[in-house]
């Protein structure tokens, strides 16, 4: 049986990759992708703990997270398309309407 710590390490690595992606990438689509990675790192944790603690609630949460992530992507992509239509770019450095 695979020990719990393996799952936690995997999910930590995934989460850190997501954070780094959000912080350093400039393509807004990749940033969204990285956010999905962070959410899925959390999902791995939910599932692993659910299995080890014999509690089904964690797996139920995963569905919620997936549902939220899906709807978020829908809205996010819609915003991105609108932005692209107006500015012809998806580089976040160039989208600086709110800067001083």
């Amino acid at each position: 049986m695979v020990p719990l710590s393996y799952y936690i390490v995997l999910s930590s690595v995934l989460f850190m990759l997501g954070v780094i992606g959000v912080l350093v990438r400039r393509n807004i689509v990749i940033i969204l992708l990285s956010i999905e990675m962070m959410l899925n790192a959390a999902n791995i944790n939910f599932v692993a703990f659910s299995h080890y603690l014999h509690n089904i609630a964690g797996q139920v949460f995963v569905f919620f997270v997936l549902a939220v992530a899906a709807s978020e992507v829908v809205i996010g992509l819609a915003i991105i398309i609108a932005l692209y239509k107006n500015h012809h770019t998806i580089n976040v450095d160039e989208i600086n309407l709110m800067k001083w």
Partner: protein
């Protein structure tokens, strides 16, 4: 309702009506002011006859303040002193009103002028009628206000409004002392009523106050309470009656129209100080120190003013300095305790000084505004009435018997000679001043009316005697200048004014060497006559002499011509001093410190904001980085510390 309330009320009503309907008056306001003032003159006469020889009428017209035991009413305390003053004020005011009709004819501010002189008359009447210190103080300030308004009558002229401001400011200095004196009286006696205060003066005799106790640390300056009260009140009198060192405003007040000069100098404002000292005589009688101060200030003013008058060229200024000098005489008498003599001189002076001023006005009127003695001369044939009346005034001022000035001046000199405190010295100063007075008065006469005409030929063409509205007051005043003195003939049983006034201000009992009196009187007459003769010699016979003497006595001449440099001194110390002080406060304190703090705070916040806005990038990733770093730091702390 009694008729006496109308004495002040009629001029006041005239002022109100003229004030409200000034635009509709169109030079007709004398139709309102003249009857009002003449009516109040006749009512004053009626009051005088009712009081004479030994009555007193006290009336309360209006309860002004009534709070617990503190009561102040507006009313009338008509005793001998009030009656005499009232008669003087209303007589001169009526004549000045009449004179104004002719003198101010065609002036743009004709109606305004009438409104103000009516208010001036009202204020002075209320001042002399006052029965308490507060009423006195209120109308004391009111005459100050009126003088300010009237001196600035030609307010487009720079010298006029500057002179008005000067009069106002210098009087504030005196009034501050006067106000303090009244506050002191109230704090000591708990009442402002003359009768209450005077009846309780004995409670405070011999007590003293420590003027330096507020510093602490064992410093002390004990001063007798009576002396302090008297001196504070006298500071007010110094301002109003233009005594040294607060005299500088009076000559400058000549910038106003001539009728107002006459009114200020003869009957209203400047006499208020002398009147007040006489009114407060119970306080002064209890403080020899204050009396001596009054004598010193009076004689100093009297001498300095006469000395300055010797060399001035402006006809009105000479007469103004003469007023200063004569007021000094009155103060000298009051200081010596001879209040009756002081008020007697006030009365006679009121007549001949009003005459001289109105005479000057008539000359200036004829000369189309010219006031310089050097540009006059030989006016006698053109202005016969003015000449003869002016001559009568001049003789009265010079103290030649039997004109009125002689009797009052002589009474003062005699009383002063017999006063305990340096009598003969003050008498000597007074006699010298009498000599100078005669000299400068006749200097005017000879320079204006005799000799060759030295002025503009254009002006000479228009020389003419003044209209009847001007000459009638001159003639009435000339009559008074001759005769008023006879109420105080210095013979047993013939002196009417002294027993009458002494009921109020107290008889003056002193050891007198009656054998000396004829000698002193002789010297006084001699002084007056020799002053006149000297003026005749200087300005009629040897006209080269004045220039030669002034050249050989250059410093003395300069001192007189430049009025002892007192104006320059005040300008350097007080005017420039306070300007420098204000500028220091402005540049040093306000701009540097106050504005510095206010702007500094604003600038600091602004700078902080300028730095802080770099954190507001609008870049989501920067915020996320911030969050991540924050989480990292918090988790690190949680885990490792």
């Amino acid at each position: 309702m009694n008729s006496y309330i109308l004495i002040p009320l009629l001029p006041f009503l005239a002022f109100i009506i003229i004030g409200f309907f000034e635009k509709q008056m169109n030079g007709k306001s004398h139709l309102i002011a003249l009857p009002a003032v003449f009516a109040s003159f006749f009512l004053s006469l009626k009051l005088f006859l009712e009081i004479y020889p030994d009555k007193e009428i006290v009336q309360t017209w209006y309860q002004w303040i009534s709070s617990g035991t503190f009561n102040v009413s507006i009313g009338m305390q008509a005793d001998a002193l009030t009656a005499v003053m009232l008669l003087l004020v209303t007589t001169v005011s009526s004549l000045v009103h009449l004179y104004t009709v002719g003198y101010m004819h065609g002036d743009r501010g004709y109606d305004r002028f009438f409104g103000y002189i009516a208010l001036f008359t009202f204020s002075m009447i209320m001042l002399v009628m006052a029965s308490n210190f507060l009423q006195l103080y209120v109308f004391w300030e009111a005459v100050g206000l009126c003088s300010y308004l009237l001196i600035a009558h030609w307010y487009e002229k720079e010298t006029a409004y500057k002179a008005a401001t000067k009069a106002f400011v210098v009087n504030r200095v005196g009034d501050f002392g006067f106000g303090l004196g009244i506050l002191l009286i109230f704090s000591l006696y708990g009442s402002l009523d003359y009768k209450v205060v005077f009846s309780r003066l004995n409670e405070q005799v011999g007590k003293s106050v420590d003027l330096l106790s507020w510093i602490g640390g064992g410093q002390s300056l004990q001063i007798d309470i009576m002396t302090l009260t008297a001196i504070l009140l006298f500071i007010g009198a110094m301002g109003k009656s233009a005594q040294f060192p607060l005299h500088t405003w009076l000559p400058d007040a000549m910038e106003g129209p001539t009728p107002i000069s006459a009114l200020i100098h003869a009957a209203t404002m400047v006499t208020a100080g002398v009147f007040m000292v006489a009114r407060m005589h119970p306080i002064y009688d209890l403080s020899p120190t204050a009396q001596h101060l009054v004598m010193v200030v009076g004689s100093l003013t009297s001498f300095m003013a006469a000395y300055i008058a010797l060399t001035q060229y402006d006809i009105k200024r000479i007469v103004a300095y003469s007023t200063l000098s004569q007021l000094g005489y009155m103060m000298l008498a009051c200081g010596a305790g001879a209040y009756t003599a002081g008020i007697f001189h006030l009365l006679t002076h009121g007549a001949f000084k009003a005459l001289l001023f109105l005479g000057c006005g008539s000359v200036i009127h004829a000369m189309a505004g010219e006031q310089d003695l050097r540009k006059m001369g030989g006016l006698k044939p053109y202005l016969p009435i003015t000449y003869w009346t002016f001559l009568i005034g001049a003789i009265a001022l010079s103290g030649v018997p039997p004109f009125s000035g002689f009797f009052s001046k002589d009474e003062i000199l005699w009383q002063v000679f017999n006063s305990g405190f340096g009598g003969p010295i003050f008498w000597g100063i007074g006699t010298l001043v009498a000599f100078m007075t005669a000299f400068y008065t006749f200097r005017i006469i000879f320079n204006v009316f005799h000799g060759e005409y030295r002025g503009d030929s254009e002006v000479k063409h228009h020389l003419h005697e003044s209209p009847w509205t001007i000459t009638i007051p001159l003639m009435v005043l000339a009559l008074l200048s001759v005769s008023v003195g006879w109420v105080g003939l210095p013979f047993e049983g013939m002196n009417l004014i002294e027993p009458f006034l002494s009921q109020v201000v107290g008889a003056h009992h002193q050891e007198m060497d009656l054998a000396l009196q004829p000698i002193l009187v002789g010297i006084a007459i001699l002084m007056g006559l020799s002053g006149i003769s000297l003026a005749y010699l200087f300005y009629m016979k040897r006209t080269d002499l004045p220039a030669r003497i002034s050249n050989s006595l250059k410093p003395l001449y300069a001192l007189s011509f430049n009025k002892f440099y007192i104006d320059e001194f005040y300008d350097a110390i007080f005017v420039r001093g306070s300007i420098a002080f204000a500028r220091g406060l402005w540049k040093g304190f306000d701009v540097l410190i106050v504005d510095g703090i206010v702007n500094g705070v604003a600038r600091a916040v602004q700078g902080w904001g300028r730095q802080m806005r770099y954190f507001q990038t609008g870049q989501l990733q920067h915020y996320a980085m911030g969050m991540a770093l924050g989480i990292f730091i918090i988790v690190s702390i949680y885990l490792f510390l």
